[in-house]
Subunit: 201 residues, 2 copies
């Protein structure tokens, strides 16, 4: 028995959100209708504006509604001479939260994956090359994911940087803080051995 077509449609549409199944979608729809219609209207407006107005920064390709994002426009960050290459815009807030990096970013919007037809052009490496040519970076930090494709992408970027004599580094792989040695997989453990550092007293 369909109670209300608009309600059914809302429940169905909520499933576009990641991790939301039929039960949670129903709970969300009823919650908004019963307790928070204003919140629902705000969300509707915010979604519409974000989906239609947010494009990509012309320098770093991250999400922004402006021509160039705040980070690229920031003078202090321009002066740092560091460029961090990440796969997705969602990687940026994670790195920002560490407070360890104050340079600029370059977002690939993916990773090299020749079998899926994703080559260097698709992930904007021509734009990256242009930037290496026109701007002066003293270090490119490659923070792609530690997957096979992410590693291949990192190597490709390292080759480009070598052409422009820019120092290129890769973020460290190893044992995550707070975990247990015996629970860590072999590949991670072997990375943590090969990447060992001298303890300086």
């Amino acid at each position: 028995m369909q109670i209300s077509p608009l309600l059914e449609n809302l429940i169905e549409s909520l499933r576009a959100l990641p991790g939301v199944g039929p039960k949670s979608a129903q709970r969300m729809a009823y919650h908004l209708l019963q307790r928070n219609r204003n919140g629902g209207l705000h969300l509707s407006k915010a979604l519409h504006e974000a989906m239609t107005h947010i494009g990509h920064c012309r320098s770093c390709r991250t999400f922004t509604e402006e021509d160039e994002c705040n980070i690229c426009q920031n003078y202090r960050r321009q002066m740092s001479g560091q460029l961090c290459v990440v796969e997705m815009p969602s990687d940026i807030p994670a790195i920002e939260q560490t407070g360890q990096f104050s340079g600029r970013y370059f977002v690939l919007m993916g990773r090299l994956s020749p079998l899926d037809g994703i080559g260097p052009r698709e992930i904007g490496l021509d734009l990256l090359q242009q930037r290496l040519e026109n701007e002066s970076f003293h270090e490119v930090i490659v923070a792609t994911n530690p997957t096979i494709e992410g590693e291949a992408t990192a190597n490709y970027i390292a080759e480009i940087c070598a052409m422009y004599n820019v120092k290129v580094t890769r973020i460290a792989h190893g044992i995550p803080i707070g975990s247990d040695l015996e629970m860590v997989d072999g590949t991670t453990l072997s990375h943590s051995f090969s990447g060992r550092r001298e303890i300086k007293l």
Copy 2:
């Protein structure tokens, strides 16, 4: 470093959904932008339509965009002579799913709670009384929640039904199927004893 005001606004607005904290909201926003902008636009439209057009059925007070909901309009259900009283519209799909009930509903949109200023009028008991007077029901099933307020509401409704000589029943409380006797709380267990039924062979 705020990356994009529209994106921040979207993340903040997503927190209106129940069970969505800052981390999930961020994940949802990036997911929609990165992979499913169409889904986001559909959701925006569905939210707007639902929040602005869905009102309450004039007979049973559940959510509907029409004057009277599909269930109240259904001839077969009108003929059943049964009325199930629930606290919230979200209780209806749960009962519908059991396939055990084919009468009509009455939604209180709350429960009696004098301390919060919620009296019989606020939960529409005047409308219920009107319906008992004008329509012919042979049974009212009270399916309010098994809380103190839900029980008080059930008793109040039973008194109204008595005035109109309508049989009134309460859904059974007891051990949920699949649970373990020793894990069940004392009140539930004592309900399951006082509500015991003869095994008929």
